[in-house]
């Protein structure tokens, strides 16, 4: 049978029939049920935290809430939203995200454009200069000592400057720039444009997708990171949201339980306090994750694009 001789409608019909024959109804049902289960496993923990944050503190402590909040308790949200420390941390994270996104865009574009110039002096040197740090690094201790030597330690610059560039992004942008036709550059040159004009007026407008990918990768990475901040910034006035979260979620220990109370009333009060503090954890998780969780479905397409661009390089 020659496929090419069949009409499109016939082919579609054939495909449809084949699909039905391919798999039993049971198989299809199993596939859909398991898919729903997988989606449930990924979403439920976050949903669970949400309903815990809205339940009464005692229910939240014993975690006997499963589908709907037990009671409706918004005091936790009120308390947290009034907490100045949270807002300082929030402001710091937004500052780190925006500054580092802008700097990463600038450094990757500025370092990538020269690499696309045909007659670049010292290209070999620049290529090796960029490749070596991708494979070897000094490790956190020398980086930490350098930061103290430069007096960056405990200032926002300790996070901003070493995080202002990523060699991986430079390479990503360079390979994107390579796909821009050389004729565009040549005609701009004939019009008398210098390299800065060409980069700004010709290359950047056509590179919006990759720039969006880099900005988003940076913002998500910075928003969710705590490790470097925990090394470089001990001053709480400059700590990002994730360090505030870590103090509340991970390092919170039962000091209260071990404390000695003189009378039963004080002990009861302290326990009440601890129970409501326990619930605040969930409230804080929701407040800190909400912006990301609302936003990510809208920009997931850029992440997919980023992964594909990245895999092209491999």
């Amino acid at each position: 049978m020659d496929l090419s001789k069949k009409s499109a409608a016939e082919l579609r019909e054939l495909r449809k029939r084949n699909r039905i024959r391919d798999r039993s109804r049971l198989g299809t049902a199993v596939i859909y049920i398991v898919s729903v289960l997988i989606a449930f496993i990924t979403v439920y923990p976050m949903y669970y935290v949400l309903i815990l944050s809205l339940s009464t503190p005692h229910e939240a402590l014993t975690m006997r809430v499963y589908w709907w909040p037990k009671g409706f308790f918004t005091d936790g949200y009120r308390r947290i939203l009034m907490d100045g420390k949270l807002w300082v941390a929030y402001r710091n994270t937004i500052m780190y995200c925006s500054v580092r996104a802008v700097l990463n865009l600038a450094t990757s574009v500025l370092a990538a454009y020269p690499l696309t110039v045909k007659k670049l002096y010292g290209r070999r040197f620049v290529t090796y200069f960029l490749l070596i740090p991708m494979y070897v690094s000094g490790g956190i201790i020398p980086e930490f000592i350098l930061s103290t030597k430069l007096h960056l330690y405990n200032t926002p610059w300790a996070l901003i400057l070493p995080g202002a560039y990523s060699i991986w992004y430079i390479i990503l942008v360079r390979s994107y720039f390579h796909s821009i036709p050389e004729s565009l550059r040549e005609s701009a040159k004939i019009d008398g444009a210098n390299s800065y004009h060409i980069l700004w007026n010709v290359f950047l407008p056509t590179s919006k997708p990759i720039l969006a990918v880099i900005a988003l990768y940076t913002i998500i990475g910075v928003w969710n990171s705590w490790y470097h901040a925990s090394i470089y910034i001990t001053n709480r006035a400059w700590q990002p949201l994730q360090l505030y979260l870590r103090r509340v979620l991970i390092e919170q220990t039962g000091q209260l339980a071990n404390a000695i109370f003189d009378d039963a009333e004080a002990l009861r009060m302290a326990q009440e306090q601890q129970i409501s503090n326990n619930q605040l954890k969930y409230t804080i998780i929701i407040i800190s994750s909400l912006p990301m969780l609302i936003a990510y479905p809208f920009f997931q397409q850029y992440f997919v694009k980023g992964v594909m661009l990245g895999s092209l390089k491999e």
């Binding site: 990924t42 007659k119 200069f129 690094s137 020398p142 202002a164 979620l249």
Partner: protein, 316 residues
């Protein structure tokens, strides 16, 4: 005919102008990238030189290299002789092997599985759900794990329904590797699967058509068309994860472990963090880091050589 009879002088002039253009362009682009190169030099190359403190008794405030403080291999020897050497090595390798055995395959199976869903809208929704944990920070993920596994937590509540007695899973070293592995799978599988989805969608549909006509059933189509289509991506990813066998996810471990689970949870990264950053033993921890990087490099070379022998392709 003016072009042909163009005098040599004019031609030379044109060449000269071209040369000038190249020089001008180079000055422009070098001034463009120089600030970035300086930044990279300061924050990537100077720390590389800073590794020399591994061979000295570095004192805070002194330069990276000070011959007066030189002690040679003392720190590396001290580390190899301590109980930590084998413990960290075993813990790190254990977590990495678990990752290669489980975490690595989940996104592949997930992609193959969801590829079977024919309703595109439904597929899209499940995919979007699966990305969610990637956008939740590791601090929050660890916080959830710790509170869910608490004695009063939901996991213990559910297990109690089956007659189990509540247990402190987070403080038992025996459970740490499993908790860590499940957590990393949950956080990453959806996002990791993106690469496999995009590879699957690039497989030529006419191959399936042809297989159907040849009478291949569904499982045979997966076996003979889908899997071979993924083979090269899987191979590259696998070699890369062997290369990372000594670098575990320090970030997540630091959040999940505690002093009672050090026995199975302490890895090179966490040890260096604890003793170096928190304890101030700069030279010793730099030596530990350096020594472990060398072992990692040796392991990667071996993996690469094996892969070159077996599959004919490797990282270099």
């Amino acid at each position: 005919m003016a072009e042909i009879t163009k005098p040599a002088a004019a031609l030379g002039k044109k060449k000269k102008r071209l040369r000038q253009d190249i020089v001008k362009e180079n000055i422009e682009v070098w001034s463009m990238m120089l600030p970035v190169l300086v930044l990279i030099f300061i924050f990537s190359y100077i720390p590389l030189w800073g590794v020399v403190i591994a061979f000295q008794n570095y004192l805070p405030g002194s330069p990276f290299f000070d011959p007066a403080n030189w002690v040679g291999l003392k720190h590396i020897r001290q580390f190899v002789d301590s109980i930590y050497f084998s413990r960290l090595l075993i813990n790190t390798i254990r977590l990495s092997l678990l990752s290669i055995a489980f975490t690595f395959w989940v996104p592949i199976i997930f992609a193959l599985f969801l590829n079977e869903v024919t309703n595109l809208r439904f597929k899209k929704v499940v995919q979007t759900c699966s990305y969610l944990p990637y956008f939740v920070s590791s601090v929050v993920v660890a916080g959830m794990v710790i509170s869910f596994l608490d004695v009063n937590g939901i996991i213990n509540n559910l297990l109690a329904a089956f007659g189990a007695t509540p247990y402190e899973y987070m403080t038992d070293p025996a459970y740490f590797p499993a908790i860590y592995t499940v957590t990393t799978i949950w956080k990453g599988f959806g996002f990791e699967s993106i690469l496999y989805f995009s590879t699957l969608s690039s497989i030529d549909p006419s191959l399936y058509e042809a297989a159907r006509i040849d009478g291949a059933n569904h499982m045979r189509q997966i076996w003979h068309i889908t899997l071979p289509g993924l083979k090269s991506v899987i191979a590259i990813k696998l070699i890369m994860s062997v290369g990372h066998i000594l670098s575990s996810n320090t970030d997540m471990i630091l959040l999940l472990y505690n002093s009672s689970t050090y026995k199975t949870a302490d890895v090179i990264g966490t040890y260096v963090y604890r003793l170096g950053i928190q304890g101030g033993k700069f030279s010793y921890t730099t030596a530990v880091n350096l020594f472990m990087s060398l072992i990692a490099f040796a392991l990667t070379s071996i993996a690469n050589r094996v892969s070159n022998k077996l599959t004919g392709s490797g990282l270099w």
